[in-house]
Symmetry: C2
């Protein structure tokens, strides 16, 4: 029973814990793949090329856009961020659940292009905790923290556009909640048409 | 953070395993309560009054309807089936997830009255297995099996009206799937408005 996979968008302010959640999700279920985004921003100390992001030059990124190889892209804090198209389409047609970690602008584009995609907004339990998490990243200077907080406020304003809202207080619980969302979405009648036909064919 | 509970409808043909699933769900999570329906049909040997159903007379049932004490009711195979209203409203306002085991006619009424309710259609893995399950209930005579199969065919035709479609092949998996649906539905942005306001209030 081969059915098309689900495209899932995960957004949330820097410091909400998207990366930790995504690596746990992919470990939990081999049917879930996390799409690696491409960016022109500088890697942070702990980030690995090809895992955190594909870190590329602005020229390279622009060429990808021009040749129609990006699913979506956005400029954010002066840097390009985007999703390479080919692997996503391949995974979806092989029935995988593909999770995209993207900013709110990109999420909106995905919703328009893939109306049956699922979107999840991830939040820390409070703004105070978000600020604290951003400050505890030793590599970030105060200006950078302030800048990220103002971007966060802009993103948070748009959370009502998302299908689901998950609070990342306890990591295990947040992972479990997002996993439940994916499992439930697979069971939607609208996605089960082929399977339903198979099951009820002698009714 | 007290928020209103979710009304969940579970339908599925006789023999799909609704009762086993419901008792497991209620054991799994004290926030889930299963509403006991009222019926005028005769109890089967293994059924317990007040647990499987409230078994009542037709006169009693009709009085309940006349005095507005039924949330929904339907006549099915010559018998009345319905949901007493008061306990459901009480549970919902205390934030519980209330599961109603009801037939397709009743489910349709609930969808109209509670547009934010969630509906799940439960099916055995195939019609052949459904027939086999019905036949293995020793108390059922062949005419009764044939009658239930024809009712099942009618119900199954309407499964696309439900939000979710769950196949009961392995009981544990089916319980887990329905539990995921309930968890995911609680995380819908549209149901999380109060919590979202609380979390983002200083953004």
């Amino acid at each position: 029973m081969n059915h098309k996979g689900i495209l899932t968008v995960l957004s949330g302010p820097s410091g909400s814990g998207k990366d930790s959640i995504l690596s746990r999700l992919a470990q939990k279920d081999p049917q879930i793949v996390v799409s690696v985004s491409m960016t022109t921003r500088k890697p942070r100390e702990w980030e690995i090329d090809g895992k955190s992001y594909y870190f590329v030059t602005e020229d390279y990124f622009k060429k990808k856009i021009e040749t129609g190889q990006m699913l979506e892209y956005a400029v954010y804090g002066g840097n390009y961020y985007g999703t390479p198209k080919a692997p996503v389409d391949q995974w979806l047609s092989s029935g995988k659940t593909v999770v995209l970690k993207i900013e709110v602008q990109g999420a909106q584009k995905i919703r328009e292009m893939y109306p049956d995609s699922v979107s999840v907004f991830l939040m820390p339990p409070s703004m105070a905790i978000l600020e604290q998490r951003l400050k505890s990243r030793e590599t970030e200077d105060p200006d950078e923290v302030a800048r990220r907080l103002s971007i966060a406020a802009f993103e948070i304003e748009q959370c009502s556009l998302y299908d689901y809202f998950v609070i990342n207080d306890e990591l295990d619980e947040a992972v479990d909640n997002i996993y439940s969302i994916i499992k439930a979405e697979k069971l939607r009648t609208s996605r089960m048409k082929e399977i339903i036909c198979e099951v009820i064919k002698d009714a």
